[in-house]
């Protein structure tokens, strides 16, 4: 089976998020990057599919400095990696376009993407790529298996409901957290990754269809902050708990 997995090298939401002077971007020097959280689940699921069915797993990433993330994927068991070099500023539609360009040059049975990226939170690139490729897809998948030329996917709905769907191959699924427990990157894996292929696939991208006007802190109610030494803070918290009558 030929399995593709889409991964984004994205800033962690736990980085210091400082808006740059232009008001439209973040100060890149404060950001720490890693593989997007949801993509770890997608990579794990892809590698498990290969372990079960044989074949090859290929990771694809669009961006400039995504080598570290692609190397991490290779260390987790991905066989080769493809990078589409693109300067920051591309939007979800453009990333999807780039991914589609790669997939059109390759043969594949199934494509896995994360449900959403931890920085942009669009939940778009996977679904848009599937739509552009005209292949069936399912989003927010929490269980996946492949049998007899089709994928079976359980997807999350609202209110605790789920639905099971069948997708003839080739297809795409976007992976929701909880589907698996991603493996740790081993020293052996890191060593093996060094010998694996990581190649560039340049794509000429169109223009963004939306433009960023302003990035800012959300204008909402702030909690009253309790400050002081840890012991004082603890005492104030107990007072608050007591005020609700759950303690006597």
């Amino acid at each position: 089976m030929r399995i593709f997995v889409l991964v984004k090298h994205s800033p962690s939401p736990e980085s210091l998020l400082r808006v740059s002077a232009d008001g439209k971007s973040l100060d890149p020097t404060c950001l720490t990057y890693d593989i997007n959280e949801w993509d770890r689940y997608a990579v794990e699921e892809a590698v498990r599919l290969k372990e079960k069915h044989g074949g090859e797993v290929v990771a694809v990433s669009v961006g400039t400095n995504c080598d570290a993330t692609l190397r991490k994927c290779l260390a987790m068991g991905v066989d080769r990696a493809i990078k589409v070099p693109a300067e920051p500023g591309f939007d979800a539609s453009m990333a999807a376009e780039a991914v589609v360009d790669v997939l059109k040059c390759e043969a594949f049975d199934i494509v896995l993407s994360g449900f959403m990226s931890q920085d942009a939170n669009n939940a778009l690139v996977g679904a848009l790529a599937a739509a552009k490729l005209d292949i069936p897809f399912a989003t927010a998948v929490t269980e996946l298996s492949v049998e007899g030329g089709e994928a079976r996917a359980v997807r999350e709905l609202e209110g605790g409901y789920r639905e099971e769907v069948a997708l003839p191959l080739p297809c795409l699924v976007t992976v929701q957290s909880g589907i698996n427990e991603p493996r740790y990157v081993s020293i052996m894996g890191i060593k093996a990754a060094k010998a694996k292929e990581l190649k560039d696939h340049p794509v000429k991208l169109g223009d963004a269809t939306v433009s960023t006007e302003r990035i800012y802190a959300p204008p909402t109610r702030r909690a009253e902050i309790i400050s002081g030494a840890p012991l004082e803070v603890a005492e104030k918290l107990i007072e608050l708990i007591r005020s609700k009558g759950v303690l006597r």
Binding site: P11, P13, L16, L17, V19, N121, N122, A123, L124, A127, L128, A131, I135, P136, F137, A138, A140, E156, L157, E158, G159, G160, Y161, E163, V165, A166, L167, S177, G178, E181, T209, V210, S211, T212, E213, R214, I215, Y216, A217, P218, P219, T220, R221, R222, A223, E224, I225, I226, S227, P230, V233, A234, E235, L237, L240, I241, K244, V246, L247, R248
Partner: protein, 318 residues
Amino acid sequence: MRVFAIAEHRLGELNPTSFELLNLANKIKGDGTSEAVIIGDETLSNSLASHADTVWSISGDQLENYNPESHADVLLQLFKREPPDTVLLGNTSQGYELAPLIAAKLHCPIVTDIVEASPEQKGLTVSRYIYQGKLMVDLKISRTPCILTVRQGIFKNEAKLSGKIIKLKLNPTKPPKRRFLKLIEPEKCEVDICKADAIVAIGRGATASLQLATKLAALIGGTLAGSRPVIDSGLLTKDRQVGISGKTVKPKIYIALGISGAFQHTIGMKDSELIIAVNKDPQAPIFNVAHYGAIADVQEILPKIINKLEEHPPTPTT
């Protein structure tokens, strides 16, 4: 502006998000129209008509159950006849699929999970959260049509209209490739966190403090709950998950330990009477829903609280 809102239903009931989409449509339509679209259940058209100028009620072969391909297919047929300026969908399990499908086929801009939209001279400006609630961004869309998915629970102000209902028979042009197999009911739960007066909720930042958090919950006669990553990792059972894909709770007191405060979590606890958050990151969005916050390390504060409480053991009131 012609604004279309794609209604949603399951098991014979409208998803309340459908009305919120129409509220937003009415807000931005200007001298244009708000038009609801309902696929596969004519009986629900009437209640939509009280919020829309027009309701398009589409029926056709195998449209009763949601299928992204068939539903996108008939929507595209409708939009060919009735060209939209803006199409609104819920940021829901259906919207995640239908919205990008339509956008890709129409080659038009798409923005997901918006919480605000205002018409401009040319096009729209929309606002949405990024970094899981830590920042916001305003985006300008100057091309039409555009596709937007809308966060639930934001556009609640009700419109009072009496729109006309137009019934349409449209069949998908081809059978969908994806097949629906079955609907899986919510899992039965052992604990009911919704009944608790006090909840101690742990997030990814407090997983190392599970034992202490359990102790605190016992001391205040409360129940332990968690954010999704804590449940995903198997530390707590699924019936203790708070949030959009878990439970909605309204206890007297909700203590959030090491929880960042992503919308998908806070939607399930924001109406608690008293919310106290402990997080070491001053930028954590949980401080936007909490009443009181301590910018502190859970591992440092929690033992102190417990020691204090154990010095003077309290008796829970219930």
